[in-house]
């Protein structure tokens, strides 16, 4: 037997052992456990604000931690920082490369970042002395597109890439601190745990991975989806992960049970999930789809309890503000909408 064949057989055997170990602790499903909980009532949200200004598809948005400001990225080549309450544009930042796919707001509110087909993550200082917003750093090392980025602090950021890796960067020196390798397909999105010790990544190898930021190791891998994992987020308690896929479903995986607890799907939903965000308590999961809608799921019952219909093209990004008061959707129709 060749070495490769031997390794392949060993991998299969280990995967079987892991599946058996997962089944051994599976004494209930979330739906069974929540059988006594009443379905949450029909959720009807209204568009409270429409943020107009981008001239092309919006690919990403991210709330600032103050729950008022947010940043969006469009292939019109701009990052716009919005005051979501007044709808004013606080900053309109022209980008060197218009092929942007992701953006992020630093927890401090001082920096924003973006990246895309330029394979780089560009960091902008919003609080520069002369009031001008300038590129502070260009983080270059990925050999594929930048699909997502999230700040740990003003000095560290994590990026995910089409080159199948994620990287932790030192922003001040512009260098790579850690490369997280292991996915066998493009990494499509990432999310950082509430305690900033871990992050999760979703990829085109149909799996999600939990990474220890400081150790640089992959702790757990979650298979189950039948196509690319496009969207990922932590459940608010930090102990579970929600994923959205081209296979039209969203799934909730618990980190301690190391397995899927529930799938959010409906026969009427026939297109891929592009983005997702849990509500403050975790009771609702809002997911954006290729069919221009956002479906609102009761997290415990896996029932669809609402729809946000209002965009005229794909909903590419969604975010719930930190105080849970509103949800923001961004679309290929060039608009962002604030709902509650």
């Amino acid at each position: 037997m060749g070495e490769m064949e031997q390794l392949r057989k060993e991998a299969e055997s280990l995967k079987d052992q892991i599946n058996a170990a997962r089944k051994a602790v599976q004494d209930t499903t979330l739906q069974e456990a929540a059988a006594g909980v009443a379905v949450v009532g029909r959720v009807q949200m209204k568009t409270r604000k429409t943020l107009r200004g981008h001239l092309a598809k919006i690919y990403a948005m991210h709330w600032a931690t103050d729950s008022k400001l947010c940043v969006s990225a469009s292939q019109d080549g701009k990052l716009i920082v919005w005051d979501s309450v007044t709808t004013n544009k606080v900053n309109a930042i022209p980008l060197k490369s218009s092929w942007v796919m992701t953006c992020a707001y630093a927890p401090s509110g001082n920096l924003v970042a973006c990246g895309g087909l330029d394979n780089m993550c560009s960091i902008y200082n919003l609080k520069g002395k002369d009031g001008n917003v300038k590129v502070m750093r260009e983080l270059a090392a990925h050999t594929g597109y930048l699909s997502c980025c999230r700040f740990i602090s003003d000095t560290e950021i994590i990026t995910s890439s089409g080159d199948c890796t994620c990287i932790l960067w030192d922003i001040e020196t512009g260098t790579q601190k850690t490369v997280y390798a292991g996915h066998q397909g493009d990494c499509m999105s990432l999310a950082v745990s509430p305690d900033f010790n871990f992050f999760i990544s979703g990829a085109c190898d149909f799996t999600s991975k939990l990474w220890d930021i400081r150790e640089g190791t992959c702790r757990q891998t979650f298979p189950g989806h039948e196509s690319d994992v496009n969207a990922i987020g932590f459940f608010p308690n930090g102990n579970a992960v929600i994923t959205g896929s081209d296979d039209t479903t969203c799934k909730l995986f618990d980190l301690r049970a190391d397995q899927e607890l529930i799938t959010y799907q409906d026969s009427s939903v026939m297109c891929g999930v592009t983005s997702l965000a849990p509500s403050l308590s975790g009771r609702l999961i809002l997911a954006g789809y290729d069919d221009f809608n956002v479906n609102i799921w009761d997290a415990l019952k896996a029932e669809r309890v609402g729809v946000l219909a209002g965009h005229d093209n794909r909903v590419s990004c969604i975010g719930v503000s930190a105080d849970g008061m509103a949800c923001c959707t961004g679309s290929w129709d060039s608009f962002l909408k604030i709902w509650n």
């Binding site: 997962r22 959720v43 702790r219 308690n237 102990n239 403050l280 308590s281 849970g324 949800c327």
Partner: protein, 73 residues
Amino acid sequence: MPVINVEDLTDKDKALMEVNQLKTEVKLERWLTSKCCEEIKEYIQARVEEDTLVKGISEEKNPFKEKGGCVIC
């Protein structure tokens, strides 16, 4: 922390990496799903009353309310 250059890995390197990763994962201590489900349920129920998107919000308290505008008499 050594930085791996993924471009330099051969197919065999990647297969070995996968096997080593699985060997680590197989050792994980796993909780009963019933315990995890209880925790999730309790977490949600403790916070759902404060969850605006679930409970809704009155016009006055809504920071995103329409501004007082024109009244047509």
